[in-house]
């Protein structure tokens, strides 16, 4: 290509000019493709970089923060937890089963690339309105895809979250998270080193699938997106399982210099990242790349997003021994190049140089935008006088329990093998999943994913804080010490200042919460342009939190345990209905400011809860979240198959607001009656408001003078909604 091409493959004119300057000539097709993917939003983070830098990433227990394939934290006993969350939003909308399945495959690779055996998967999902004609099909496909992949690979899928909202009608979110465990002194990184060292390709063969997926993930949808039908990637979980075993076996040796999975933009981004991090050049012999199809061009080989592939740099002379391991696992293994001191990426095929690009200038010159943004205007306060509270609060509770965002997700998690591995101590359905660390005494990891997008929309800063705080709270509620988070920033088109303002606001809120809670960000992912025809999704910074329980026998669960146990509420009731689920589901209004998050109170309350659980006096614990106090009580009752009788919490709001309001930093705990006074004293000493609300027992949930509903009625509402919805005939 000696002249300016008509199709700049997604680059702007200015970006193209910059590319010409870097090369000193016009790029050829494969080179242009490489510029295009390397400078895409997905690979370069060009709109988000400036802001992401503000997130706290350090703590004494952080071994490796953002910048590698996944984040690494020290969990004691010489072990590290390695985790990350990643989106597969666009592919899952186009082909829900394969899109979600390959999303799981991709995030697994990010984690085992670093030397960890994956021990748990989670998934944060957002779908459109249940009434939207595509929603059912998308839910069915995504859930089957996540299960289909994770179950076969043999990694338990132990948690996640699901929301439904019309803002996701044209852009669903599929965020997958993997947590793995590795010896803390055997972490593998991606910086290439050692001129002359062999560059090795392992895994599946390369086909023509998913070419330009990275740029697709960086573009908006329009109505004809489905017509474009980019080649969808098909996942092969069995091959992934082989790849995990083979890589972990190779990692027992000292043959590996650097390793990197081939994710978005395949061979291009993996080779560039390895070379650029290590400050070396690389020469790739494209004839050696194992190809699934004949006649593949350099462009196709470099940009294919075929799944289940990895790139490694080995120590010299170790090729044969490494190859033997991959052959044992029946995987392809090929030396496809070596490291050079040229600082250039050189591509050779059929004896010719087919591409030649300087690595650092390309990587360093990758665009970084300070996009214009406007802060989200504060929402108008909610006028309490104008809220028509439902007359029958019992009926209101039943409706809430069967509403799409609260109804039981059993239909989903029963399609996931959440037990494989023999270490799942807390199954889905509680505040956080708990998985024992294999062969480490009683140590266990707790994990959760959280975000309340309707809060983020109304007030990005509070929403960002709340997402982090809720993850921290959910880990605390099982008794774990929260350690760090991964995030998945899902937003609309960053070229619109309002959307950029949402992003900036959420990051600010997250930053504050991470600092206040000693809960740093160690990895993450950004997914922008989640828009269809100019309408963006709700801002959704999904947070994946990980914590540690030193003694799994001290783990708390949400289920009521014994008749007569006292129910204690920690935290203050103000009856905050703004942006509450009850306001939306029962009054049809999405209004007002979200509940404010006071991080000092959050910390104080959570620290107390954790201590009380560790002391062994707490028989059940649940944080108060969507649906407020009474929904949390109902969830505890259903989990324990035991009712309760409680009074209204004190506060100068209506019973409706006190029961369904969503003020933050609150937990419900139960204790045997003989510990009641000790618990109250401990709370007083910690400066945390605590009140005995009632006690466990019976087969009804009763709020004296307000409502009394049989557990069986609540159970039916809670359990029947999702299966009922999913089995209704598909719309034509």
């Amino acid at each position: 290509m000696s002249a300016r091409p008509a199709d700049l493959m997604g680059l702007t004119e200015a970006e193209y000019d910059n590319a010409v300057e870097i090369l000193g000539r016009h790029p050829n097709q494969v080179e242009l493709g490489i510029f295009s993917v390397m400078w895409s939003e997905h690979c370069s983070y060009k709109s988000s970089k400036k802001w992401l830098k503000q997130l706290p990433t350090k703590a004494p227990w952080v071994i490796k923060g953002p910048g590698e394939n996944a984040g690494v934290i020290d969990i004691g006993d010489g072990l590290a937890a390695i985790f990350k969350m990643e989106s597969h939003n666009h592919p899952s909308f186009i082909e829900p089963y394969q899109g979600a399945a390959t999303g799981v495959g991709g995030i697994l690779r990010d984690v085992f690339t670093m030397g960890a055996r994956p021990v748990a998967n989670l998934n944060a999902l957002r779908f459109g309105s249940p009434d939207h004609p595509k929603t059912r099909h998308l839910v069915a496909g995504v859930v089957a895809g996540i299960g289909g992949y994770g179950n076969c690979v043999g990694v338990p899928t132990v948690g996640g979250e699901v929301n439904f909202h019309p803002a996701y009608n044209g852009n669903i979110l599929v965020n997958a998270m993997t947590v793995g465990i590795a010896p803390a002194d055997r972490i593998f990184y991606s910086a290439a080193a050692g001129v002359g060292n062999p560059v090795v390709y392992v895994g599946s063969k390369t086909g023509r699938d998913g070419i330009h997926g990275a740029t697709m993930a960086s573009a908006e949808f329009s109505d004809d997106a489905e017509e474009k039908r980019p080649t969808v990637q098909v996942g092969d979980p069995f091959t992934e399982k082989l790849l995990i075993e083979a890589c972990l076996e190779l990692m027992q040796t000292d043959y590996i210099v650097a390793i990197q999975d081939m994710g978005a933009a395949g061979l291009t981004s993996s080779s560039f990242e390895m070379a650029s991090k290590g400050g070396v050049g690389i020469i790739l012999d494209l004839d050696q790349v194992p190809a699934r199809e004949t006649g593949m061009t350099p462009y196709e080989l470099m940009l294919s997003e075929s799944q289940e592939r990895m790139l490694m740099v080995l120590k010299p002379g170790r090729e044969a021994a490494a190859e033997a391991i991959f052959r044992k696992w029946e995987l392809d293994f090929a030396v496809i190049g070596h490291l050079t001191d040229t600082g250039r990426m050189q591509l050779r095929m059929h004896g010719e140089i087919v591409g030649d690009l300087p690595i650092d200038p390309l990587a360093l010159a990758s665009p970084e935008y300070d996009r214009p943004w406007v802060p989200t205007p504060p929402p108008a306060p909610l006028d309490r006088g104008h809220i028509a509270a439902p007359v029958d609060l019992g009926e209101a509770l039943v409706r809430m329990m069967g509403s799409p965002d609260i109804a039981s997700r059993r239909w989903i998690w029963e399609q996931y093998d959440h037990l494989v591995g023999g270490d799942t101590a807390q199954r889905p359905g509680g505040d956080a999943a708990v998985v024992r660390v294999p062969d480490a005494g009683g140590k266990a990891l707790a994990m959760t994913t959280d975000c309340t997008p309707r809060y983020c929309k109304a007030d990005p800063v509070q929403g960002g804080r709340q997402a982090v705080a809720e993850a921290w709270r959910n880990l605390t509620a099982v008794g774990a010490r929260p350690l760090a988070i991964t995030d998945n920033m899902n937003f609309g088109n960053p070229q619109r200042p309002e959307i950029m303002g949402q992003f900036v606001g959420c990051v600010e809120g997250m930053r504050e919460a991470c600092l206040a809670l000693d809960f740093p960000v160690v990895s993450g992912n950004v997914s922008l342009y989640n828009e269809t025809n100019g309408t963006g999704i709700l801002p959704t910074p999904a947070i994946g939190g990980v914590g540690v329980l030193d003694d799994v026998t001290r783990m708390a669960t949400i289920a009521f345990k014994a008749t007569g146990d006292r129910i204690v509420v920690l935290g203050e009731a103000t009856g905050h209905l703004g942006q509450s689920l009850a306001l939306r589901e029962l009054c049809g209004r999405e209004e007002g400011p979200p509940p404010p998050v006071d991080l000092a109170i959050e910390r104080q309350t959570g620290d107390l809860v954790r201590k009380l659980i560790a002391d062994g006096h707490v028989t059940a614990c649940h944080d108060v979240a969507d649906g407020g106090l009474v929904v949390a009580l109902a969830e505890m009752a259903l989990a324990g198959k035991l009712g309760a009788e409680v009074g209204l919490p004190k506060g100068d709001a209506s019973p409706f607001a006190l029961l369904f309001g969503e003020e933050q930093a609150r937990y419900i705990i139960t204790v045997a009656s003989r510990y009641e006074s000790a618990i109250l004293a401990a709370a007083a000493a910690a400066g945390v408001p605590a009140a005995v609300l009632g006690q466990v027992g019976g087969d009804k949930l009763t709020v004296t003078g307000q409502l009394s509903v049989a557990l069986a009625t609540l159970a039916r509402a809670h359990e029947d909604w999702l299966p009922g919805y999913m089995s209704a005939p598909a719309a034509a």
């Binding site: 394969q98 098909v234 799944q307 034509a732």
Partner: protein, 80 residues
């Protein structure tokens, strides 16, 4: 009237099933199998007697349900 529908993966789409079968066959000692592709075969008993109408309706079934046209092709054959 009976409709026989074949649903096969489009060219270029990875076929893990076919690949696995190919590997297994060679493991069993069957040589000379160059490629294996696996698809679905669906038989429908239709009340409709008119071939044109039957085909039209099966076409619609394929597009809406039987085939995932993002990655699969379908072929319809009517008998009887």
């Amino acid at each position: 009237m009976k409709a026989k529908v074949h649903v096969t993966l489009k060219n270029g789409v990875l076929d893990p099933q076919g690949k696995a079968i190919g590997n297994a066959l060679s493991g069993l000692g069957f040589t000379g199998v160059d490629d294996v592709r696996q698809g679905k075969y669906i038989e429908l008993d239709l009340a409709e007697k008119d071939p044109a109408k039957a085909r039209e309706s099966v076409e619609a079934m394929c597009r809406q349900l039987l085939a995932n046209t993002v990655i699969e092709n379908y072929a319809i054959e009517l008998v009887g």
